[in-house]
Each structure stands twice: as structure tokens, then as C-alpha cells.
Amino acid sequence: MFSRIRKPTPTSLFIYALAITVLAFAFKDIRQLAVIGLVNGFLGIYLGLRRYKWIILLLLLSAWGTFLNALAVSNTGPTLYQFGPITIKEGAIHATIAITLRLTSIAGAALIFFALTKPRDIIRYLESELRIPKGISFAIAYAIRLFPLMQKDYREIQIARMERGFRKTPLSPSDIKSILLPLLSLGYERAIWVGIAAELRGFRLRETRKRKPIFGIPEAFILTLLLLQVILALAPYM
């Protein structure tokens, strides 16, 4: 039954993710941040965890880093814990929770967006509905197409390195250089020929098809979700 329901358009999800990002910075109170952090964090992880597992690792690393940062810059107010020479004050805990919730809501909104859209659709909608210039959308489209090609190039470089007796995984700066330079060089050569081919096929003459944004039930649902979060976050202050 659910498979028949149309997914929200990339434009509506893009606006939703952008609105959540703005709200994450506009809200200063922890209760407000908790509303958008929990809603988007849970939804984003539920929808995107299978494809983007590393986000969890990044969030945990980030929370730890934020705590250390908060110890350096926001360690004010009454003392909560004392571990030898390290004093943890209320300000550090408050700042850690606030920034982690902020990051969770931003990452969650981005995960919702990317879990429900395909890169190709994103470009199509950005060009036709949000009117980004065709050159930019061509660059983004080509960039997305390049991912698997560059992955293949990377594997070939790895094979060449192994055959020459070097390690497969780059560890030192010279390893990184010896992988990055051929990757860039291959990409550069490819870009020239792709560009020539596009020009010969009339890239300059191509006109962008413009259309009005679609607004149906899935888009109304996304808008309602956004409004609900704003109302819930602002309710205690009304």
C-alpha cells in the first residue's frame, strides 16, 4: 500500500532541510532544539541509516569533540563534576547538549532529504523548479556521474601501486599524493573531452525547461511536519 504513495518532490524536501537548518541556528533554548533534534534525528536515522552508517560515527565523534571544545570555551557556572584537575561546569554541559542537538537536527534533515531523493532528481528539480543556471546543473550532474568512474580509477591506481610493491591503502602524504594526482589527471583529461562533446552537441543552445513547483499530499505532509515542529518548539513561550 505504502509503495504506491508518491515521495515528496526534491524541491519540497530541499526547502524542508534548509528550513530545519535555519531553525537549528535560530533556536537557542535546549527545549526548542530538543524538539527539532529528536524529530529529525530519529526520522533521519530511520530513513538513512542503511545508506549512511558513518553519520552515527561522525555524530558521536562530534559530540566528544564538542564537549572538549565546550570545556575550553564555555566552562562557566556552578561546578557539576570534579575529576582530578578537570572541573566540569554547567556551561560546558549546556553547550555540548545544545550543539549536539543542533548538529543532530541538521544531519537528520539532510538524511531525510537524501534518503528520499535520487541525485539525478535533485538536479532536475533544482534546474526546473528552483531555476539554478544550466552550467551549474551540468557541473553537478557530471560530478554525480563521476563518482563511480573515479571509484573505478581509484581501484586501477590501487592495482598499479600493489604491482609496484607499494601499499594498497594510502597512509602517508606521499601515498595520498601518488593517488590524488593520477585521479585528478585522469579526471582533467576526461573533463576536456566531455566538455568538447557537450559543446559539439549544442550545450550553449540548450534551453532549460521551467515548471511550477508541484504541491500535493506528500508536500502538504512535509509542510505540516515542519509547522508542527515550529509550534511544538514555540508552544512553551506562547
Binding site: I55, S74, A107, I136, A143, L184, A191
Partner: protein, 183 residues
Amino acid sequence: MVEKHVSTRKLSLKYTAIDFAMLAIVAVVSGIIFWATWFIYDLGKGIGGPIVARLISYGLWFIGAPLAASLIRKPLAGFLGETLGALVETIIPTIGGFTNLIYGLAQGAASELGYAILGYKRWGVGAGALAGALAAFPCVALDAILFGEIATVEVMTIWLVAAIVSGGVYGAIASMAAKAIRR
């Protein structure tokens, strides 16, 4: 005698499909580097604290502009390289989500300013280092505005200097890489 990386050709704002394809290459490479930099930054912050984190990672987040500008050598290439790199980083995605785009736009504009100051005539290692270093200013400012990373003037100055040094070094490296592949 004209220095090798001082351009004498007429300034052109006209972008061809080849330029856009090159921007795509820069966007993918820098987008992947930006994504990996989150791990370097968070590990650096967790182990060495905020100064070490800025020193080892911030410049990596600024390389889109010097890489694109050194390869394409046209006005706005730096701005577009950094912004599209940030867009690819957002698409991958990272925990920065759409914040990456805000940073990309601001850092790209600052780096572009570096090339504009030089009259869009120099695209070498020095120009790359300047572009990378200039991106540190909006980056540290946005850290303060968006993430509340505000400390005393002395500490903020150290953070800024660390970001400038990192940006300068990685900007120079990006320009050298571009020089190596540009035939």
C-alpha cells in the same frame, strides 16, 4: 620575462562546457576531501583540542577554491569550485548537512577575493596560498555565529591564525597539484 603563472591573456568570464566539466572534477575531489575532513577534524578536536584540529583540518575545507581557480583560471572559478565542493559534500552527506553550503559560499567568496586582489593575473602557488588563507576569516566568523565557538580575543586570534596557516599551506598544495596536472 613573464613569470610562468602570471597570465597575460585577456580576462574572460565566458564559461564553456569544458570549464563546467572541470568544475565537476574539482567538486567531486574536494567534496570527498571535505567529507573525509570531518573525521580528521573530529579526531583532531578529540585528541589534540581546538587549535590542533583547526591546524590540521581547516585548510582541507578551503582547497576547492585554489584547486578550481588554478585549473580553470577564470574569474569566479574559485567561488564556484568551493561552493560546488560544499554541495557535493552536502549530497554525500555529512553531519554538517546544509550548513556546508553556507560555509562553502562564504569561503568561496573570500578565496575569490584573493584572486580578485591579484587582478585575476596570478594563479600560482602564492595566489593559492592567499586564497586558502583568506577563507579562514569567514570560516572562523561562521563558527562563532552558527556554533557559538566564541572565546577570549587571545584564543580567537590563535584559532584564526591556525586556520590561516592551515588554509595557506593546503591552498599552496592544491595549486601545486593543479600545476602538476595542467599541461
